[in-house]
Amino acid sequence: MTTTESPATGAVPEAEKKNWRTSGGVRGWFGRQHWAVRTALSIVFAVLAFLLPYVGDVPVIGPQIVTQGIDWPSALFNISYYVLLALGLNVVVGFAGLLDLGYVGFFAVGAYTVAMLTSPDSVLHTEWAWLASIPIALAITMVSGLILGWPTLRLRGDYLAIVTLGFAEIIRIFATSSETLRGDRGFSDIPHPPGSYADGKPIFGVADATPYYWLGLSVIILVIFGVRNLDRSRVGRSWLAIREDEEAAEIMGVRTIKYKLWAFAIGAFIGGLGGVMFAGQQGFMNSQTFILQFSILVLAGVVMGGSGNIFGAILGGALISYIPDRLRGIEDPIFHTDLFGFRFAIFGLVIIAIMIFRPQGIIPSRRRAMELKDREKEVAPQ
């Protein structure tokens, strides 16, 4: 990457010193620090994230931040799985450039597998513990990613989008109509994650969502590490080549099919992780849980935050969850409905505005921003 300048060589060139922007802004400054400073800052940041459930106790600004219509730890947990979904979708859309509109399908596959294996309502009657069902749930989501990826490999971007949309819709129709997946009745009594305090009370109870948020945050941190390393590896460079020009990449010896499948599988894995956590916290789910607008909402988050940039995706994922939750319980003056109902409409407008005025997103990936600039120069005079 452009920012990993070795601290040993030290001095920053004079020309760059003059302007905060040309020296790479916050990220440039962060990249020039000693590795110990960078680690320390990251840890401080992570600790602050872990303390978020108590932000309401901060005087003056705290009460403005916390949500009203939904309790704050639950809102934070919602944020955590939206961020996971955004991270996963960012791998597919941002890194590999494959527009996947059916991403919620993987979330559903993960959640449904957990429900099937653990809930007493399931026809399998296995009633496993939540933790035991995770490996199988994740394996099945990855396979479903491959199943979706394989027939769509030859398709161009826009066809791919419609086929993935169809995939999510088929899963939804299947969940609604099939007897095994129980349609609207859904699955209840899905067990919570294990563990209890010294006095025997379970850590992951029904009343307080804070432990779930901490669990989600920990998973997010692991996923960030994994995805960041992938992006900087041979796999990540292959994704980049495929995104910029698939034919050229193929000619240069990138095995496009292999790496596109990898993108689908890894994206599906992360989405499934979100589904697994969701099932563990809610304890109940039915076919109404996975509406299609959800996929588009997550896409909006990734695009808004800055597709191709991990921190952009995190910010976007957090915003698409936080803003509607914050609007919950506030009445709009015209139709007198909960403003929460407008969430998809509002994000529809946001997507258009972002694509027109700042196509690279709030925290852009530098390389993608440059790609967009390049294209702009090629435009033929009308």
Binding site: L99, V163, I351
Partner: protein
């Protein structure tokens, strides 16, 4: 799997499928036209249809008609139908133009990558359908029973109703007029020229921006007609009606060869019929899933569709 049921109901399933397919075909024209010229999928086309389906209801509502009113006499029905069609066509056409202006034109000026267009179109689609959803409180809206389906022709157990005949005839007429327009008129020649080669067409003096707007407008008009027929046939509409039918219309366009006008007709009718056969075979809840499976299969086996994709060579 219910094979005997399929064979027994073959006639009724076919005629229902043809009527449904006629609506899908008209709807599919919008996808095909825009794709033929811009090589982009107009994701917001489903909402062009949606607003059309509400526009005629609003006009009928102004005359005091709702789902509980009695069927008026023949002259009044004709009048209401014409007014409803006019309202739906105008609103759908304007919506399509609006979508082009807001979601396509700014990006085109900047030579944005193709996926960016898709994303703005998705945004526009989400905005329109969800606003309708909030305003109607996500309830279904009933359609006044302007035409009571009565059997006109009966062959065996196949009952052909007046409504089905009206839908199929109206769709065929609209398609015929459009086909003549694209192939014979001066504006149609402009559309074909831009579809073949935008830059050369621009050098030859074709106003590319105007052609693109025209293509969106025509797609909107056709969707308006389709919307009125949909209302009459189904009897209800909903904020997500456009989305669900839109996927089917897109499948039809791909099936016939996207960018190909006659392909859209063929694909629409074929899809309508196949869907109903699948419903007869597996049960009606799988009707929509059938079209998705079909879409994936076509793209795997023959991605260019039955008649091949081309608006530029529309004569073929």
């Amino acid at each position: 799997m219910n094979f005997s049921g399929l064979i027994q109901d073959f006639g009724p399933l076919t005629i229902t499928g043809l009527a449904q397919g006629a609506i899908i075909a008209l709807f599919a024209l919008g996808y095909t036209l825009v794709y033929g010229v811009l090589r982009l999928i107009n994701f917001a086309h489903s909402e062009v249809f949606l607003l059309g389906s509400y526009a005629c209801l609003i006009v009928w509502g102004l005359f005091g008609l709702d789902q509980n009113s009695a069927t008026p006499n023949v002259a009044a029905v004709l009048g209401y139908l014409l007014l409803g069609l006019l309202a739906a066509i105008v609103i759908s056409g304007l919506t399509a133009l609006g979508v082009e202006l807001v979601a396509y034109r700014p990006l085109r000026r900047r030579n944005a990558p193709p996926l960016a267009f898709l994303i703005t179109a998705i945004g526009a689609s989400l905005f329109i359908s969800e606003t309708v959803g909030v305003v109607t409180k996500r309830n279904i809206t009933g359609v006044p029973p302007l035409i009571r389906p009565t059997d006109v022709v009966v062959i065996g157990n196949m009952h052909v109703t007046n409504l089905q005949i009206l839908i199929i005839v109206l769709a065929l007429v609209a398609m015929f007029v459009l086909d003549r327009f694209i192939n014979r008129s001066r504006l149609g020649r402009g559309i074909r020229a831009v579809a073949q080669n935008p830059d050369s067409a621009a050098l030859m003096g074709v106003n590319k921006s105007r052609v693109i707007a025209l293509v969106f407008l025509i797609g909107g008009l056709m969707a308006g007609i389709a919307a009125v027929m949909y209302d009459l046939k189904i009897g209800v509409t909903r904020f997500d009606a456009g989305f669900l039918l839109g996927i089917e219309a897109f499948t039809a366009a791909v099936l016939g060869g996207i960018g190909n006008l006659r392909g859209a007709l063929l694909g629409g009718l074929l899809l309508g019929v196949l869907q109903n056969y699948a419903a007869g075979l597996f049960g009606t809840q799988w009707l929509h899933a059938a079209s998705f499976v079909l879409l994936v299969l076509i793209l795997l086996v023959r991605p260019t569709g039955l008649l091949g994709e081309s608006l530029g060579r529309a004569r073929a």
